[in-house]
């Protein structure tokens, strides 16, 4: 049987790792595409209420956020301890909502203006007085599609 005896001096051949990086790059691009970077840093704390009937918010590019909550501890000196409104990356007042709605509408095409949704992302402890004021402002500027942000209730 000497004829079939293999030469045993080669050792195990190394694995070809050439395509490994391709696979990892593919994963990387996948994650880069599906994720969104946080656009603005929040100055306020938001602990949204929980609900069982929540649905997903569709079409992210047609959504503008109105954040409402108490300023974070390190911003308390600057913005106080009462609930405040944050529009994009600045603290605002109820009277600024109209201008914000106009700006957001003008940034969209005519068709998208009608579909623009304003997502109210408020802390559970915020009083309804402030939120009602915001809703009245939205009504007055005919931004009628709204969305109450909440977390899904754990069953």
């Amino acid at each position: 049987m000497a004829r079939f005896k293999q030469k045993n001096d080669k050792g195990t051949p190394g694995l070809n790792m050439g395509s490994m990086s391709d696979i990892i790059f593919m994963l990387l691009f996948f994650f880069m595409v599906i994720t969104t970077m946080r656009e603005s840093t929040l100055f306020i704390k938001i602990n949204p209420p929980r609900g069982s009937e929540v649905t997903k918010l569709e079409k992210k590019n047609l959504v503008s956020y109105i954040n409402i909550g108490v300023p974070m501890d390190n911003y308390a000196a600057k913005y106080g301890t009462e609930p405040r409104i944050q529009l994009n990356d600045q603290i605002a007042d109820v009277s600024d909502i109209r201008q914000f709605v106009e700006l957001e509408k003008n940034a969209r095409s005519d068709q998208d203006k009608l579909l623009l949704t304003f997502a109210i992302k408020a802390d559970g402890k915020v009083k309804m007085g402030l939120i009602s004021d915001i809703k009245q402002e939205l009504r007055a500027s005919s931004a009628l599609k709204i969305f109450y942000n909440a977390a899904k209730e754990a069953k």
């Binding site: 790792m17 790059f25 969104t36 997903k56 559970g124």
Partner: protein, 191 residues
Amino acid sequence: MAKRATPGLNTSAMSDISFLLLAFFLMVSSINTDMGIARRLPPPLPPDFQPPEVRERNIFQVKINRNDRILFNKEVGDISLLKERAKEFFSNPLDRPDLPEKNPTQIEFIGVYPVTKGVISLQNDRGTSYDMYFRVQNELTAAINELRDELAREKFHKAYNDLDEARREAIGKAIPVAISEAEPANKGGGK
């Protein structure tokens, strides 16, 4: 000059680098799925607007005070009962005279369906917490969703969420989201 084979590039560290990038993106990015309840605000009213007369049996009043206590149909109630009461109000299965009237309407895919004339009137105080307000909205939405699901199973033998767009719209016409929000009261004296 002697011809030599070019040595292959050692690319084994390449995967390490791309792993590093991948881990970085995994950490800094958030797949933030925004969840919540969608609502439509009523359009701004003209100044000479007269509210339409609505019979008392067609209104289900839900009030939330500044201490987050709920009052429905003029009695103090618990939020856990709200869903069942709202369902009973909207469906009025026994045609009781103190529950809303129905308006038989021809609807595509369903046929003639008695659409309720009932409206839930929701009023909160300026001192009500958003948490409580949201929970009430959640219960009312749950009532409507359950009624829609029941109708979808009866007519199409499918869950409401599995229906196509046209049939979902038909169900939406048969059981509309009839929640009217009054201007908030200011009993708490909050600003």
